[in-house]
Amino acid sequence: MSESPAPRPSRPLPPVAIVIGVLFFFGLLGLMIYGVMKSGDPQRDVLPSALIDKPAPAFALPVLHDPSMTVRSEELRGAPYLLNVWGSWCAACREEHPVLTRFAESKRVIGYNWKDEPADALHWLETLGNPFMVVLSDVEGRTAIDWGVTAAPETFLVDGSGIVRWKYSGAMTQQVVDEKLIPALQKIEKAQGNADAGLHGNP
């Protein structure tokens, strides 16, 4: 009580406690700053595909335009390709279509028609235009499970030796193509170039 005679200061805080407290405070602050900077990134919560840097799953799928023909994964080796999972029922695929069409003008893009009626899919391509070199048809969605596809659109970049190098979930925008896809593709081409150079020796 305030009227009692001998007020004395209580024990000072041990320096260790202060150091730990300061470290904790600034650690938390740093973490929060990191979190805030990341919070604007729409891809933040996308789980990385388990397939990245692993061989693409082997498959043998009928071609949409001619179901009597089958395409096997080995047949696509040799050069990088983009695998785009889509369906005529998927609204975001329609949104992505012009971006994909522009990209497909110069690059190899394989369509992967997922859980779709072939008739609807063909009609969709007729209406909007077909950007794909070839469209594979997976009506039941069995093979898509190997790829870990959970929603359309989803896009995989596979290099010439059949290794998955990049993946995107959701509709790609031009920005994603320019800032993520093209650099990833250039990296593959550079690696390929180095490997070729290694094989052939210095000219």
Binding site: M1, S2, R8, S10, L31, G35, D45, P48
Partner: protein, 639 residues
Amino acid sequence: MLPELGQILLLCALLASLLQAGLPLVGAQRGNATWMAVARPAAFAQLLLVAGAFAVLTAAFVQQDFSVRYVAENSNSLLPMIYRYSAVWGAHEGSLLMWALVLALWTGAVALFSRHLPAPVQARVLAVMGVVSVGFLAFLIFTSNPFLRLNPAPLEGRDLNPLLQDPGLIIHPPMLYLGYVGFAVPFAFAVAALLEGRVDARWLRWTRPWTNVAWGFLTLGIALGSWWAYYELGWGGWWFWDPVENASFMPWLVGAALIHSQAVTEKRGTFGSWTLLLAIAAFALSLLGTFLVRSGVLTSVHSFAADPSRGLFILVFLSLLVGGSLLLYVLRASGLSVDAGDPRRGFTATSRETLLLANNLLLATACAMVLLGTLYPLLADALSLGKISVGPPYFGSLFLLLMAPMVLLLPFGPLVKWQRDQPSRAFALLAPWLGLAVLLGALAWWQAPQNGWKAGLGVAAAAWVGLGTARFVWQRLRGNGRFTAEMLGMIVAHTGIAVFLAGALLVEALNVQREVALAPGQQVVVGRHEVRFEGVDHREGPNFTADRGHLRVFRNGRELALLHPEKRQYASGGQVMTEAGIDARLSGDVYVALGEPLGNNAWAVRVHIKPFVRWIWLGALLMALGGFITAADRRFRRP
């Protein structure tokens, strides 16, 4: 014109809060009475101005003024009247405005009831609250202005998030904020005490009711949120350890610790600097919670728009406020004058102080555990350890581990004497009741149809806390038979814990769930209940259409209830919401949710039997009530 008026009111409120924060603080430092006297009128003015701005925003919603962007984004012309009011705090800007309003209300209340305090204390407390107001009002005005106009004005608004169109969600945020923000009062007192350089028992007595009331509101808010998640999300769960829930749970845990440590400091003169630290921590965690929810740093089922600039603004403010007060604590806490000669200080290992210390340590550790689990995914991401999610297994098992000793020690607390006591005395008092609790637990174990040991432990724990509390009541009755409000509050709150324990552990043990496909006329047997599906019809709501299921629930052949779970499709965004059909009883709920249509009139139907689930919220209600009763103690109002 009205929205511009709202904006002007907000700007004036910012000026008033600057006045409230600045002059009295300097005045108290220099002993200038005139400057100190500015605090109270400035606080009242700030309250009036913020309330005015809030009223303007409400009017914009009621009149459907879609030229205001916030209104256009969060309501439309089909929105029922009651949700036009609650839509005011349905999204970021409005809920921040409510934050500011609640803070202004608490500040006004402090100004009103603090007249008998010494002028410098009064001035400092109001000034610290003013600093908080400045930060939030500036945040509101500069980054999250709710009065921004759209030009041209749209003819129709988007809609209030359908998840929020629910009676439970009308009062959940106000209650939660009353709790969160209420911790600003003990915080302001702690900072004022540090500035002053001493902790006075009189001030502490004066802060205690504020802490108790704030904690009571926070308890209500959390309980309402849990109740809402239970019937609205359609999973039948009542607590998900979701980041947003954790954000409100952390200040609750520290607040509970603070309530107890304040009592020790007030009555015994010990734990002084610890109480100050807890008071700072409780409010810091409230701010951290607001930050985590508002900034979009963590994602969860409650998603809010993410905008890094907003997040950075509030982060800078938060770190200055919390960092500043902690720095003050480090500089001043060791120099606080305490009475070394106070005969009430000092205690042995077997005393009530020791038990309350254990309570504080366990609650603080639980809070640290929740904080670690909540932030760990972010930490892992920052250190590129991969994407990790921390879920109920971590939180549930660790929380149980920490709360087990708490439950074991709780009944001893009120029965053990201050300073020193014979441990054998309390054991002798409680041994028969412990025996009875174990017996009841064994009975439950034997009787339970499943998870016998869980049910047994639940009953034993609940009975132990309940009977131990009853033993304290009995002891008082045999003594002088008088109960202070403080004691009554403690008894009610501890009974609430017993009721909560029974509910939470029994529903965990005895919950039965079936997911089946049912065609009209078919039925499913779940436990002792039969649920017959009678089909689905179509219903038109004010702003949605719904598939409404009809299910009859029978128990032992007798009809209990006709339930109507719904799947609602909202007109505006096409979002689908489930509304569970619940037959609620104290002995347990029958909970039915409608899944997907499967063709031929058959539907996927999920049926849960949830024994004693109501006790969870009843227990929380009792805890909150305990806080309010304690706050009403006349002793606290003595000058």
